[in-house]
């Protein structure tokens, strides 16, 4: 069986300006969503607070729950139905995370018992994170993103360009740059943005077009996923960060496949036009790019649909990441090589 004929020839490279416009629009939409929402919707892992998942034995409404919990200062927006409607399951969030032996969840259970009758509601899950741990987890998540970025930038600059010396220079410059910026007392979030900028500039200066393309593609994937989370006001927590890191690792897979083919074709024919060669490479690998993403996408869709409420958002992040990652491998990462070639005139071709 074949979904994609071997002689397929779609002019992907010709669509690069449209693709760049679409990507730019999606990223812009994400940024607008983040600004509009006043930042990401940080879950209890990062902001501190209490999350409680409750199952009711009879049908109820968010308003009834809110009325029951009025005295605890829990608003309408903090009560959300999850799962199928027949499950009668709700997630209740509270900013309160008093760091003492008294639990917010006990207060909530007591008031629900009062309002709905004892035994009518069961707490399935409690997540309470105090401000100190919330701060620690935030730092840990940011450090994880930073180190993942560092190691992956190191690996792809070494591997794609086959120059491990350059990769060493890159790592040293990145570490030094972030260390120096760290001395100025910038917060971790800005340090990571700075690290990203340093990585891009280094790729440019050191003339590493493949690494540049790969890094831009993965920033692109993560930004769009995060933007969509902001747009849908989905909660951002530790498992979502794990999903993002997985996306970073996985979305590079397809990019690597295309890049490997471009290099293989470059070795075979040094004379041909770069645009034509890149387009041919994308088309040659199109079938496997779509198939590999497709098989992974299928299992993630099942996880999303059948996996239950706890894992739902995690699966959603992976879902979005895989789709966007596949798109960026075809439409962003490879055409960027041409953009780089046109701008720098240093020549991807000569160096490959």
């Amino acid at each position: 069986m074949e979904f994609i004929r071997p002689d397929i020839n779609i002019n992907f490279v010709g669509m690069r300006m449209k693709a760049i416009a679409l990507s730019g629009l999606l990223i812009l939409l994400g940024i607008v969503a983040i600004i509009w929402r006043g930042g990401l919707n940080m879950g209890v892992d990062f902001s501190g607070g209490t999350l409680i998942q409750v199952k009711f034995s009879e049908t109820t409404t968010p308003d009834a729950i809110r009325d029951a919990l009025k005295e605890l200062g829990i608003g309408r927006s903090a009560i959300q139905q999850v799962g199928a409607a027949s499950d009668n399951e709700y997630i209740i969030r509270s900013d309160i995370s008093e760091e003492k032996a008294k639990r917010v969840s006990d207060d909530i259970q007591a008031r629900l018992d009062q309002a709905f009758g004892p035994g009518k509601s069961t707490i399935l899950r409690v997540e309470m994170v105090g401000p100190k741990v919330g701060h620690d987890l935030r730092q840990k998540a940011l450090l994880a993103i930073y180190y993942a970025l560092l190691f992956i930038a190191l690996y792809i600059s070494g591997r794609f360009e086959l120059k491990w010396g350059t990769s060493g220079v890159m790592a040293a410059a990145l570490l030094l740059g972030v260390y120096l910026l760290g001395l100025t007392g910038l917060s971790m979030t800005y340090l990571i943005i700075a690290a990203l900028a340093i990585t891009l500039v280094l790729c440019w200066i050191l003339k590493l077009p493949y690494a540049l393309g790969a890094v831009v593609a993965l920033i692109h994937d993560v930004f769009i996923t995060v933007g969509l989370f902001a747009l849908l006001n989905k909660e951002f927590n530790l498992t979502i960060v794990a999903a993002l890191l997985t996306i970073v690792g996985y979305s590079l897979n397809d990019t690597i496949i295309v890049y490997d083919r471009i290099r293989e074709n470059l070795r075979a024919s040094r004379k041909s036009d770069l645009k034509e060669l890149i387009n041919r490479s994308i088309n040659q690998t199109l079938s496997r790019t779509l198939l590999t993403s497709g098989t992974t996408l299928v299992v993630v869709i099942f996880l999303f649909v059948l996996g239950g409420t706890v894992i739902h958002d995690f699966a959603f992040a992976l879902l979005v990441g895989i789709v966007v990652g596949t798109y960026s491998s075809i439409f962003v990462a490879s055409p960027l090589l041409i953009v780089f070639e046109e701008w720098s005139k240093s020549g991807v071709k000569r160096r490959a």
Binding site: P6, L238, A242, Y250, L252, T296, F302, L306, F314
Partner: protein, 531 residues
């Protein structure tokens, strides 16, 4: 092809090891000789799957330093009286410093001498003339304070471990984390509120005299010296409810819970209500005998963590070292109180920094849904591979099933914990494991289209695709390893299964499938390739 035999042996050994590691987790009864010689560990389920409670507590170790200073005050006053150094006040200020107020500065050098000799853990911070005399401020030496803090954390850990052991939780995990934190994992706990009450209670038991003739409603400023108002829990037998009242107690603590050797729940035969019977050690018994003898017909209050439980009138001198705490307890409350009194007080209060509790029903639900998505996802991928690559697809499917087997065995072998994101990691790996075969098969198809024989196409496909596959997987592996380093609990579980899955999938998708194809082409003289 050369080395076919050796590769077959390698694959057989890996498979055998996987089965050996996996058997204990499958619930089959193993022969007696298995235990002790072969791996015996089951796959460990995370709290999010089996239900349970995850707690991070912080020991307020600074409070232990303050308590030590408070105890020092009585001793210091005694010494000053003996040395005939007149003082107005000796007290601890909120910053945790000891303030000694002298009538004038004439005895300051003598005071300093006495302090240096008798109280080496204190250091002289400052001394100054004040309008009403002379003020000396001392503080505890940092080295001593650090020692007390450290001791408080280790004692708190020990006490909490004792309480949990007596409460009865199977396989609790209690360990220190960082400088002053304690990580507690209680799998399968059914009543999280009760467990938390038990763990978090400081359980400082004190006996104090009731300040007679003082109205508990008196304003704090108007109270006589050495008297404070305490809340009191009183059981009203008429209404059957507990009421919060107030009571005035004298400041002096006559006896504390540290002399308790045993505490048990008894049932009052008259009212059929539970109470806690205490036994003191000989020293405690002597003190108890003395204070009851000296205060006959007075009210003695029993205070637990600053709340008065009962304040009976002493009828006569009590010898024998036995006392009881009556009050409005349920049977469970009395049992838990007995546990905390037996296990002893925490040296300093603890606060909860983090709590994650998953009820057993949600955990079971997560396992069911996780495995359902895993099975459905696997079936979909397996069917797709057969439909798309026909016979070669079946080979890839064999590798895929082996891959899941290896991941499970890996979890058992590394004693890793399977969490819900961990199951997601396995599901993701199932989708990614066939990627390698897709890359190889697509390459083989391409080579065959270019006119190569099936065998040549196979060789070219494997050799050309392998490097790309390695590359593509290494980036995911990097991300997984970083997650493992910085992740907590469930995320770590995801990182573990993802990492094991990637390594296992490289082995099954490249080595195992190649072995099968080579066997068919060389041993079975297969000429065509169904791909």
């Amino acid at each position: 092809m050369k080395g076919l035999k050796w590769r077959a042996i390698l694959v057989a050994v890996v498979l055998l090891a996987a089965v050996v590691y996996l058997l204990p987790s499958l619930g089959v009864s193993l022969p007696a000789w298995w235990h002790g010689t072969l791996p015996d560990e089951k796959i460990h389920l995370g709290l999010d799957l089996q239900g349970g409670m995850h707690l991070v507590l912080e020991v307020q170790a600074e409070e232990a330093v303050k308590t030590t200073l408070d105890r020092l005050i009585d001793e210091l006053k005694e010494t000053l009286r003996k040395e005939k150094i007149g003082f107005r006040v000796v007290e601890r200020n909120p910053a945790g410093h000891l303030v000694i107020q002298l009538p004038d500065g004439s005895r300051r050098d003598r005071l300093r001498e006495v302090l240096d000799k008798e109280f080496p853990i204190l250091e002289w911070a400052e001394a100054m003339e004040t309008p009403d005399g002379f003020r000396v401020v001392c503080r505890m030496k940092e080295k001593e304070a650090a020692h007390i803090r450290q001791l408080a954390v280790s004692q708190a850990l020990e006490t909490i471990r004792n309480r949990i052991d007596q409460f009865g939780v199977s396989e609790p995990d209690i360990r220190p984390q960082g400088e002053n934190r304690i990580l507690i994992q209680l799998p399968g706990i059914k009543d999280p509120k009760r467990a938390l009450d038990l763990i978090g209670k400081t359980a400082v038991l004190e006996f104090r005299l009731v300040a007679e003739g003082v109205d508990p409603r008196t304003d704090a400023a108007a109270l006589p010296a050495g008297v404070k108002i305490y809340p009191m829990r009183r059981f009203d037998p008429n209404t059957g409810r507990t009421i919060e009242a107030k009571i005035a107690l004298k400041d002096r603590t006559l006896l504390t819970g540290e002399y308790i050797t045993n505490a048990n729940v008894r049932i009052d035969s008259q009212y059929n209500t539970p109470y806690v019977a205490l036994e003191f050690d000989p020293q405690g018994a002597r003190i108890f005998e003395r204070i009851t003898g000296e205060n006959v017909k007075k009210q003695l209050a029993i205070v637990l963590d600053g709340v008065v439980y009962s304040a009976p009138v002493i009828q006569e001198k009590i010898s024998g070292g036995r006392a009881s705490i009556t009050g409005s307890f349920t049977m469970e409350e009395a049992r838990d109180l007995a546990i905390v009194l037996r296990a002893g007080a925490l040296p300093a209060p603890v606060v909860i920094l983090e709590e994650r509790t998953v009820g057993p029903s949600l955990g079971a639900d997560s396992i069911r849904k996780g495995f359902l998505s895993m099975v459905v996802g696997s079936v979909a991928v397996v069917l797709f591979m057969v439909l798309y690559y026909r016979f070669s697809g079946i080979v890839a499917d064999v590798a895929l099933i082996l891959n899941v087997l290896l991941i499970m065995a890996g979890l058992a072998a590394f004693q890793a914990t399977l969490t819900l994101p961990g199951i997601a990691g396995i599901i993701l790996t199932i989708g990614m494991a066939v990627d390698a075969n897709v890359l190889i098969f697509e390459r083989i198809r391409e080579e065959m289209r270019a006119g190569k024989t099936p065998k040549a196409a196979l060789d070219a496909g494997y050799s050309r695709a392998t490097l790309t596959i390695l590359d593509a997987n290494i980036t995911t592996l990097i991300a997984a390893l970083v997650m493992f380093q910085f992740g907590t609990g469930p995320v770590k579980g995801f990182a573990v299964t993802l990492s094991i899955g990637i390594v296992a999938s490289l082995f099954t998708a490249i080595v195992v499938t190649r072995l099968i194809f080579d066997y068919l082409f060389i041993e079975r003289r297969m000429r065509t390739l169904s791909i």
